[in-house]
């Protein structure tokens, strides 16, 4: 599952179909073995504004008087999510699903900090993180496995990297052209600097276009049950 493409900015609905909000950011937790796991969805202006304009948000936060929990986004624990198809469906009803988050834990980080970070490959600048791939792995949950790197902003492949023959032809051709230099690397080979928002990668990598040819048209848009294979 491509997090930027298939999870971020998706509509969250409650158990009855009422609309809750959009997935403005995703909460990741570092587990004991060093891997990153998706643990929650973050909603609200406090989650979205840093993605729109990081510097502006920092100034805003610095300018206002500080109360505890004021600039912390609303959080929905991943356990409350029943399924992910073209939107996110929760198990519960709207009223009880988005309490304010706890103060940000150093073990918890935000996907927005990772997406769009500049990346160096074996010392040389090599583009930005444009997407993050995660896989549901049974007990451990939705674990981040690979980084997609290239030019352009997060999600700018518009999904054309996944399906070989998605039309229209002209748009697909333009996207392929823009991303001909994009590549995928295993997250284990990367060291992520969360404070400065940069990533250093090394080791084997593969071009993005290879994935398009390998995968069939079954997309992760079909139901993904977090916590199951």
């Amino acid at each position: 599952m491509d997090l930027a493409l298939h999870l971020l900015d998706r509509q969250v609905e409650d158990a009855e179909g009422a609309l809750v909000g959009k997935v403005d950011d995703v909460e990741l937790t570092r587990s004991e073995d060093g891997s990153l796991v998706v643990t929650g969805l973050l909603l609200g202006a406090n989650a979205l504004l840093p993605r729109l304009w990081q510097r502006g948000h920092e100034l805003w936060v610095a300018a206002a008087p500080q109360r505890p929990g004021q600039n912390v986004p609303d959080r929905i624990d991943l356990a409350l999510v029943e399924r992910l198809d073209s939107g996110v469906r929760l198990r519960t009803r709207r009223a009880g699903s988005a309490p304010p988050a706890r103060a940000l834990d150093p073990e918890r980080v935000r996907l927005a900090l990772l997406l769009g970070s500049p990346l160096t490959y074996e010392g040389e600048p090599a583009g930005r993180v444009i997407d993050v791939r995660a896989r549901p792995e049974g007990e451990r949950g939705l674990v981040l496995r690979e980084l997609v790197v290239g030019r352009g902003g997060p999600g700018s492949t518009l999904g054309y990297d996944r399906k070989a023959d998605m039309g229209p032809w002209a748009v697909a051709a333009v996207v392929r052209l823009l991303h001909r230099g994009s590549w995928v690397v295993d997250i284990g080979q990367c060291s992520i600097d969360w404070t400065h928002g940069s990533v250093a990668a090394s080791g084997p990598r593969r071009p993005l276009s290879q994935d398009r040819e390998r995968r069939d048209s079954r997309g992760p848009g079909k139901r993904v049950q977090p916590g199951e294979d």
Partner: protein, 409 residues
């Protein structure tokens, strides 16, 4: 039998709801100055809106999601925000123009000043948006809007030289006294009036409001492919009647009254009364649609509950936005600005905002994650790509043309 009536209702509502103040004014202005030589722009625009409305209707029916909802998902929050600001701005301008249009239409028959009507019209619009059922608004106002067929009747009655009219359209027979730059400006304006962004957002959000499913695809396509072109014919009838009656006298259209003069000549008092009924219904309906569209766009960007398919208490933010924009629109109109001028500006800026709207629709309608097996066929994609290029050209050319021609002088 019931099914037949449902389909017929949909088609009739689509015809009656197609024309709004932008189409009314721009077509009449162009008909009076250029005859039918800019008719090709209308036809191209109508084909375009049919194409993209079908796509967004299909997305709404199969995925249960409205178009603007998906813009942020596909293009990211930054571009989504740009899109939001652009289309909200243009749609809000159109909203102001529509409310002004209702007030002008009412002034036409009662000779009570337009400014006095504005508060009442704004109040009526807000009450309908808050209280009335979605389908009731659509059906009643759409059917009343069918009164505009009187323009087609008037054109027939005037007995023009049809060959001459057709010749003007086909050979793009521009009057010698007008420059090509002005011709292009008005072509872009008509294109923008036919393909206004709010129509697509409204159509798809309306589909979600009415709980379309894949079974409704055939009905939706009938509405789009029969209803919209016939609505486009109404636009051409307005242009044609202005061409036949006003152009020979060199009368330029800048009030709503002048738009109705051809009907007066052809059909007399009754005709004008029906035409004004059509004006009121079309502009009132469009006012509701544009108001709702602004609310839909904002709520769908943020992810908040929107729509009239839930009780107002469940969508408080949505209804608050509707109230605020109605107040703001009334305030703007009460400054005395001419709604016709607002209309002209909104139509040009609609042309500028088109790419932001239509590019995401084209991408989304191709994505099996949203539309399953109902992805675009090759022909649709080819046409869609051609239109994307046309839209880009129009969007880029709109502002320079506006400046060069001084808004069409």
């Amino acid at each position: 039998m019931k099914r037949f009536f449902a389909v017929a209702l949909g088609i009739l509502t689509a015809i009656g709801g197609f024309v709004d103040i932008g189409d009314l004014v721009t077509n009449a202005q162009v008909g009076a100055r250029f005859g039918l030589s800019i008719a090709p722009a209308v036809i191209v625009g109508v084909v375009g809106i049919c194409l993209f409305a079908e796509m967004s209707g299909r997305v709404a029916a199969v995925s249960g999601r409205a178009t603007f909802d998906l813009v942020r998902e596909r293009l990211g929050p930054r571009i989504g925000l740009l899109n939001l600001v652009g289309s909200m701005g243009v749609t809000f301008l159109t909203f102001i123009a529509e409310i002004g249009g209702v007030a002008l239409s009412l002034q036409l028959v009662t000779s009570v000043n337009e400014l006095l009507w504005v508060p009442f019209v704004a109040l009526a619009v807000w009450l309908l948006l808050w209280r009335a059922k979605f389908s009731a608004i659509e059906n009643v106002l759409g059917l009343l809007g069918l009164s505009l067929i009187v323009f087609a009747v008037a054109l027939w009655q005037l007995g023009p030289d049809w060959g001459e009219l057709a010749h003007q359209a086909v050979t793009v027979d521009k009057p010698a006294s007008e420059s090509w730059a002005t011709w292009c400006y008005y072509a872009v304006a008509l294109f923008g009036a036919a393909m206004t962004p709010y129509e697509v957002f409204f159509f798809s959000s309306g589909g979600v409001e009415e709980r379309w499913t894949a079974k409704d695809l055939a009905v939706m396509r009938a509405n789009v492919f029969i209803g919209f072109p016939l609505g486009g014919l109404l636009s051409l009838a307005i242009a044609g009647s202005a061409a036949v009656v006003l152009q020979p006298h060199g009368i330029a259209v800048d009030t709503l009254g002048e738009t109705a003069l051809p009907v007066a000549e052809a059909l007399g008092k009754i005709g004008v009364a029906i035409a004004v009924l059509g004006f009121v219904a079309a502009t009132f309906g469009a006012a509701c649609e544009t108001g709702l569209s602004v609310g839909y766009s904002l709520a769908q960007y943020v992810g908040a509950q929107w729509g009239k398919y839930v009780r107002p208490q469940a969508a408080v933010a949505f209804h608050t936005v509707l109230l605020l924009i109605t107040l703001a629109a009334a305030a703007v109109l009460l400054t005395g600005v001419d709604p016709i001028v607002v209309t002209e500006i909104s139509v040009v800026f609609s042309a500028v905002a088109l790419p932001l709207t239509y590019f995401p629709i084209l991408v989304i309608a191709n994505d099996p994650d949203y539309v399953g097996e109902h992805v675009n066929g090759r022909v649709t994609n080819l046409l869609g790509t051609v239109y994307l290029v046309l839209i880009l050209v129009a969007a880029v050319a709109a502002i320079p043309l506006m400046v060069i021609t001084g808004m069409g002088q």
